[in-house]
Symmetry: C2
Subunit: 217 residues, 2 copies
C-alpha cells in the first residue's frame, strides 16, 4: 500500500526473475491491487526503476578497503566493486535501460580516489588511474558470463566454443588452446588487476609505510 512497499516488492520481483519479470500489471497483482493503483504511489515504471537503482547504488557505496599498502587497498576496492555487481546481476541491465551506467560507478570512483591519494597519485594521472581500474571492472561485467538470471535468454555461444574451431598459424598453439578453456574468473580478474596496478601505481605505494606496521602484523 505504501510507496515503500511498492518499491520493495518491485525490487524483490526483479531480484527473483530479472528486470523483464517486472511489469506494472504483475506488480499490481502481487500487491493485490488494480494496475492503475500503483501510479498514485510511484510516478510510473521508469521512476520506480530509478528508485530501485538509487537504493542499490546506495548500498554499494559501503566499500571497506583492506590491506596494508595503498596498492593493496586499491585492489581490494576493485574486487569489492566486482563482487557487488556479481551480487546484483540485474543492476547492469537496469542501469543501461535508465542510462545510469556512469552514475552507478560513482561510489566506486570515490573509494578508489581515496586509496589512489594514499598511494601518492595526483591530478590527471590519478584520475586516469581511477578510471582505468573501473574500466577493467566494467569490462568484466560486460564480457564475462554473469551468473544466469532466471528468465534471461541463454548465452548462445561462448568464446571458448568458438576458439575450438580456430586454425590459425599466426596464433601460438598454446595460446589458442588456453582460449578454449573457460578461465577461472576470480584469478583472471586478479591477474588483470595486478597488471594494471603495476602500470598505474607508483612503486613506493607497494611498500608498507613504516616498519612498525610490519612488525605488528
Amino acid at each position: 500500500m505504501t510507496r515503500e512497499r511498492v518499491i520493495e516488492t518491485a525490487r524483490h520481483m526483479i531480484e527473483e526473475g530479472g528486470v523483464e519479470a517486472l511489469s506494472m500489471r504483475k506488480l499490481a497483482a502481487e500487491l493485490g491491487v488494480a494496475p492503475t493503483g500503483i501510479y498514485w504511489h510511484v510516478g510510473g515504471r521508469e521512476q520506480l526503476l530509478t528508485e530501485i537503482v538509487d537504493e542499490v547504488v546506495d548500498e554499494m557505496a559501503d566499500l571497506r578497503p583492506t590491506g596494508a599498502t595503498a596498492r593493496d587497498r586499491m585492489a581490494s576496492v576493485a574486487r569489492q566493486i566486482r563482487r557487488q555487481v556479481l551480487d546484483h546481476p540485474y543492476l547492469v541491465e537496469l542501469a543501461r535501460e535508465l542510462g545510469q551506467g556512469p552514475a552507478t560507478a560513482f561510489p566506486g570512483q570515490v573509494a578508489l580516489a581515496r586509496e589512489a591519494t594514499a598511494a601518492g597519485l595526483q591530478g590527471e594521472e590519478g584520475a586516469d588511474a581511477v578510471r582505468a581500474l573501473l574500466w577493467l571492472v566494467g569490462g568484466f561485467v560486460m564480457l564475462e558470463r554473469l551468473p544466469q538470471q532466471p528468465d534471461q535468454p541463454v548465452q548462445r555461444t561462448t568464446t571458448q566454443e568458438l576458439w575450438k574451431s580456430v586454425r590459425d598459424t599466426d596464433i601460438d598453439a598454446s595460446l589458442a588452446k588456453a582460449m578454449t578453456r573457460v578461465p577461472d574468473p576470480d584469478t583472471l580478474f586478479e591477474t588483470s588487476l595486478q597488471s594494471l596496478l603495476d602500470a598505474v601505481v607508483p612503486a613506493s605505494a607497494t611498500v608498507r609505510k613504516s616498519s612498525r606496521a610490519t612488525r605488528r602484523g
Copy 2:
C-alpha cells in the same frame, strides 16, 4: 518481400532509432505488409535480431592491424575494436538483450591473439593478456558515455557532475578536480591502453624486429 529485405530494413530502423524503435508491427508497416507477414520470412523478433548481430559482427571481423612493432599492432587492434563499437552504439544493447556479449567480442579476440603471438606471448599468459585488453575496451563501452541514441533516455547524471560536490580530505584536491572535468575519451583510452600494454607485453616486442625495417620507414 525477401528475407534479406526484412533484415536490411530492420537493421536500418535500429540504426536510426535504437533497438526499441524496432517493433514487428512498425517493421511490417515500413515494409508495407501485415504484421504477421514477417513471420514467414524470419522466425520471430529474436531470430531477426540475432541475424542482425551476426551481420554486424561479421563486418567487425575486418580488423587491420597497423604499426611497426607487435605491441603497436596490438594497440591498433584495440583502438579499432573500440572505434567499431562506437560506430554501432546499438550493438551493445542488442548483444546484451540476446546474451551475445561474449560472441560479439570473438573477432577481436582472434585479431588480438594473432598480434600477441607476434609479440612473443604464449599459453595462459598470452590468453590473459588478450582478455585483459578486451576488458579495457568493454569497460569503456560500459562506463563512458556513448554517442546519444535518438530515442534513448537521457543520461541523467554524469559522474563529473557528482564529483563537483565531493568534499573529502582523504582525496587529493587536484585528483578530485580532474574528476570533475569531462575527459577526452580518445586520450583517456590511449593512456589506459598503453598502461595495460606496459604490464602485459614483454619489452622485446616494443623493439622493431630488424634495423632494415627501420631504415626503410
